[in-house]
Amino acid sequence: MARALINAPAKAKRGEVIEIKTLISHIMETGFRPDSTGKPVPRDIITEFICKYNGEEIFRAELFPAIAANPFLTFFTVADETGTLNFEWSGDNGFTATQSVNITVE
């Protein structure tokens, strides 16, 4: 299981624009590099990231081989209700990782 780090405010005012920062450990092997014997190292990247706010998708990203290791994605949303932010990464070789954080909206 990959380690992921979410930085989102635990509390926000209703209607406030909040920044969400996500960082996940992943090698993001491009598939274009040869190993020491000259054979290409197979591609192993995260291909998709989805963030849902109380079940509703608020952000989605497609990732490609040019993205560096340990992808760091940040985005903004409007805090409109108390609930949960769910984060989901998926990629090559059946890679999946999920994480969630709670947010209280006052």
């Binding site: 380690r3 780090l5 979410i6 930085n7 920062k21 960082l23 996940i24 450990s25 090698i27 993001m28 560096a68 290791a69 340990n70 760091f72």
Partner: protein
């Protein structure tokens, strides 16, 4: 001027000339100050610094029982946040049993082999980098404090020689770049002063955490010099000299560098 006075004068002038190459203490700058705003932002915010992922791994490793002794780091050292505070700022440090200085990586592996009775971790392995980053982080913000006593002095001197002597096919010394030409550009990249304040650090070029020895091997390769195997006494002496050269500067571990 009498002859003894003239000789003394000459020695004083030569001495001053030799020392002039050293960067005055007040003018020292961390590699951080040579970085772009974006790279600084990565280091400033732990949640943006990929090295944090390794530090979190190490919190688990710290508690994990290892080896035939079945001991974890925490069994001897307790809470790293208190017991490891300031430790990394003192390394490399003199080890009585070995009669020479050892760096933090070697210290971790001595604990593994002698206390935990486990196999040593490979240099640049994820676990060793994570543990040294975790231990290093506990000294963050503290001044680097290398003992300069009779035990350490010969090794410090060996490190200084390694730093100032020309080597490799390009016939360069470390000092020619990092003492004499810092702030200039080398192939578009700024030349820092070479203070190892943030190791192990996350280097964007490597896309992973790496140790000071890996960085030194990089520099030696760039000078077309033959490097040393990880853990070689030459590299530890150089690490020791570099840390002493950065004495008093705050520890940034785990830093981010381009």
């Amino acid at each position: 001027m009498t002859r003894p006075a003239a000789v003394f004068f000459l020695i004083a002038v030569l001495g001053a000339a030799a020392a002039a190459a050293d960067i005055p203490l007040a003018q020292r700058k961390s590699g951080y100050e040579f970085m772009t705003r974006e790279t600084r932002a990565m280091q400033d915010d732990d949640s943006a610094n990929p090295a944090t992922l390794s530090v979190l791994d190490a919190e688990t490793l710290w508690q994990r029982k290892e080896g035939s002794a079945g001991k974890s780091c925490a069994d001897c050292h307790g809470d790293a946040r208190t017991s490891m505070r300031g430790v990394a700022a003192r390394y490399p440090a003199f080890n009585e049993a070995r009669g020479r200085p050892i760096d933090l990586e070697q210290r971790v592996n001595i604990c593994r082999t002698e206390q935990q009775r486990a196999t040593p971790l490979a240099f640049e392995s994820k676990e060793l980098l994570a543990l040294t980053a975790y231990v290093g982080q506990q000294s963050r913000g503290m001044p680097i404090d290398i003992a300069n006593d009779a035990h350490i002095r010969p090794f410090l001197e060996a490190g200084r020689v390694m730093f100032t002597e020309r080597q490799g096919q390009l016939n360069l010394s470390c000092a020619q770049c990092h003492d004499d030409n810092w702030g200039q550009k080398l192939a578009g990249a700024p030349i820092p002063q070479g203070h190892p304040t943030g190791y192990p650090l996350y280097r964007l070029e490597w896309q992973t955490l790496g140790s000071l020895q890996r960085r030194l091997a990089n520099c030696l390769f760039g000078m077309r010099a033959v490097s040393y195997p990880y853990g070689a006494s030459e590299l530890v002496d150089l690490e020791l000299y570099l840390m002493w050269r950065a004495r008093g500067m705050p520890v940034e571990t785990p830093a981010v560098r381009p």
